[in-house]
């Protein structure tokens, strides 16, 4: 058998272009369905596990898909927001713990998620380094983000302006990184978590600025009418919350009116869940309350329908690649007729001659399988970089 392998490898090495072409052909024909199957099953598994661990989501009426996916994956969907009053309303029912999510801004391209400390407990997120959010201006970052941006507790992270051309818009906030989360293998790994109040400061609903004194800051004060001070736009706003200036930060208006993108609702029991769903299942309700698992199941149905098309395509491609391979091998057999004849004359058995041919096929298939396996593993390990390179 040693001789057969030697001859096979020598032949394949000598005809390396043909060998590589064949291996690539087979690899590509195998890679697509394998990656697709791997991807879809991971997609399904992750989507379902995230959806299963998110009992209910409340948000302004509109696309249920957008609401579910935004709340689970923090993508920047163009959705109507609700407000803190609705969060309070859910809390007041006594049926569930509402966790507000405010998702409007990004920092270095990563979504800034305004929430409360309950979110970390709910998702069982554990700090790898540093501490949890403490005060305004603090942020806790996901493991991937920390790795990519080389950030650790004590560093600072600037929020991105909403629109770079909007010079009069909200100013970026320099956030204090207080903690880095352990890897969770979810969207949380790539997010920046801040307190809802910090997100509102980024939004410009709250801000901090130096105290305006009509007597000493004459250049800043336009008008003083009784207790009303009207200052000009030169009043410097703080772009960072520090121990020294934190007291100057304040919010305008009633907290209850402040925007909330969506609310993760954790019912205390099954009965509470049903009651809540019933409560929001009306035309008059301003909110919609959804079960993410139902949305994900609907999405998966769509994905599987698309996958069926891919599977059909894969089948046809596989058949054509198979036929092509047959043709190549038949031609090769014909070309090597004299070689076989010589071997036969030298005493080689017909079975050994066939073994030689089959070993070649086996080697090509095996090499293709290894390539597919390696590529799948590489995709698995470097998926983040690949997808980032391709999509971001």
């Amino acid at each position: 058998m040693n001789g057969v392998f030697r001859l096979t490898f020598r032949y394949l090495a000598y005809n390396r272009l043909k060998t590589v072409t064949l291996i690539l052909c087979v690899s590509l024909a195998l890679l697509l369905p394998v990656l697709l199957q791997f991807g879809v099953s991971q997609f399904e598994q992750d989507l379902l596990s995230r959806a299963r661990s998110t009992p209910l989501i409340a948000g302004a009426k509109g696309s249920r898909f957008d609401l579910a996916l935004q709340s689970m994956y923090f993508n920047q969907a163009d959705r109507e927001s609700t407000n803190m009053l609705e969060v309070e309303a859910i809390e007041e029912t006594g049926y569930a713990l509402p966790i507000p999510l405010v998702l409007r801004f990004t920092a270095q391209g990563a979504p800034v998620v305004g929430t409360t400390l309950d979110y970390f407990e709910f998702r069982k997120l554990v700090m790898a380094k540093g501490s949890n959010l403490k005060r305004l201006g603090d942020c806790v970052i996901g493991a991937n983000l920390a790795e990519n941006l080389q950030l650790s507790p004590g560093d600072q992270l600037m929020s991105d302006p909403l629109n770079v051309f909007d010079l009069s818009g909200t100013y970026p906030l320099k956030m204090r990184v207080v903690g880095v989360l352990e890897k969770s293998g979810s969207a949380d790994d790539d997010a920046v978590f801040v307190d809802v109040h910090t997100e509102w400061i980024i939004s410009g609903i709250g801000h901090g600025h130096q105290k305006i004194n009509a007597a000493t800051n004459k250049d800043l004060v336009l008008k003083q009418e009784g207790s009303t001070t009207i200052a000009n736009a030169a009043v410097p706003q703080f772009n960072e919350v520090t121990e020294e200036n934190i007291t100057s930060f304040h919010f305008h208006g009633d907290t209850e009116t402040f925007p909330v993108s969506s609310i993760i609702v954790i019912p205390f029991d099954k009965k509470s869940e049903v009651l809540l769903l019933g409560m929001y299942d009306s035309d008059t309700s301003v909110l919609q309350l959804i079960r993410p698992i139902e949305i994900v199941n609907e999405l998966m149905e769509m994905v599987f329908r698309v996958k069926q098309l891919f599977d059909m395509n894969t089948f046809l491609v596989s058949v054509s690649v198979g036929l092509l391979l047959c043709l190549v091998f038949l031609l090769s057999l014909r070309l090597r007729k004299r070689e076989r004849q010589t071997m036969f004359q030298l005493g080689c058995s017909r079975s050994t001659i066939w073994k030689l041919q089959l070993t070649e096929i086996l080697f090509i298939v095996l090499a293709s399988l290894i390539i597919v396996l390696v590529l799948t593993l590489v995709c698995r390990i470097y998926a983040y970089q690949i997808i980032k390179f391709l999509f971001i």
Partner: protein, 223 residues
């Protein structure tokens, strides 16, 4: 060594027929086979090497009646007794010189590839003056050298019968002589029977006997 009596052979759907009433080739004999193209020179070699089976008659080689052998026995006979040299050398281009010489050992499980084989390869190639090309590719050596490689391959398993089918057909006059001499020399050294098919009358002088195969060739008129 080889004894042929009333041997008849024909190819299916062909007018060709070979009839050898009686032919004896003794051990270590150096025999040249001549005859016009298509008269059955190669067929004779294939019969002696048991690739073809006679339709009738007796063919005894090395004391074995080849007609009575089954496929695996014929193969075993070929491996152990026969060495083949072809007109077109039939070297394998994806193997180097050494591997081409050792080819019978790679493709036959019954032949043991050991250090002795390696040593013999070196000796053979040295005697053929191609030892410097052992690791070279076939397309890197000349026609004459290729044929010497083919001779080495045929000689390596130490056959009792060396069959050479027009081994000089593709060579220049100098190389023709050289190859013939090498074949005779090595056959003499190993006491092997050499049967060489040739068209070239100038090469016959070194052979002990020459037979014209045309005497045995018949063309059967079909109705």
């Amino acid at each position: 060594m080889i004894q042929i009596q009333q041997l008849q052979f024909s190819y299916p759907k062909s007018q060709f027929r070979l009839h050898i009433p009686d032919l004896k080739i003794s051990e270590s004999e150096k025999l040249a086979v001549i005859g016009p193209s298509g008269c059955g020179k190669t067929t004779l070699l294939n019969l002696i090497s048991s690739i073809l089976i006679p339709d009738q008659g007796t063919l005894i080689s090395c004391g074995i009646n080849l007609k009575t052998l089954d496929d695996s026995q014929r193969r075993a006979y070929r491996i152990s007794k026969i060495g083949f040299v072809f007109q077109e050398f039939e070297l394998i281009d994806y193997l180097n010189v050494r591997e081409n010489i050792m080819l019978p050992y790679y493709i036959n499980g019954t032949l043991q590839l050991d250090k002795a084989v390696d040593e013999r390869t070196r000796e053979l190639t040295k005697s053929m003056q191609i030892d410097q090309y052992l690791n070279s590719r076939i397309d890197q050596i000349s026609q004459g050298e290729r044929q010497r490689v083919a001779i080495c391959r045929a000689l390596l398993p130490q056959p009792q019968i060396l069959l050479a089918d027009e081994p000089t057909g593709n060579l220049d006059p100098v190389n023709k002589q050289l190859i013939r001499d090498l074949l005779i020399e090595h056959a003499t050294q190993t006491k092997a029977t050499l049967i060489m098919v040739t068209h070239d009358d100038s090469l016959l002088d070194q052979f002990e006997r020459t037979i014209d195969i045309a005497c045995f060739h018949e063309v059967v008129e079909t109705a």
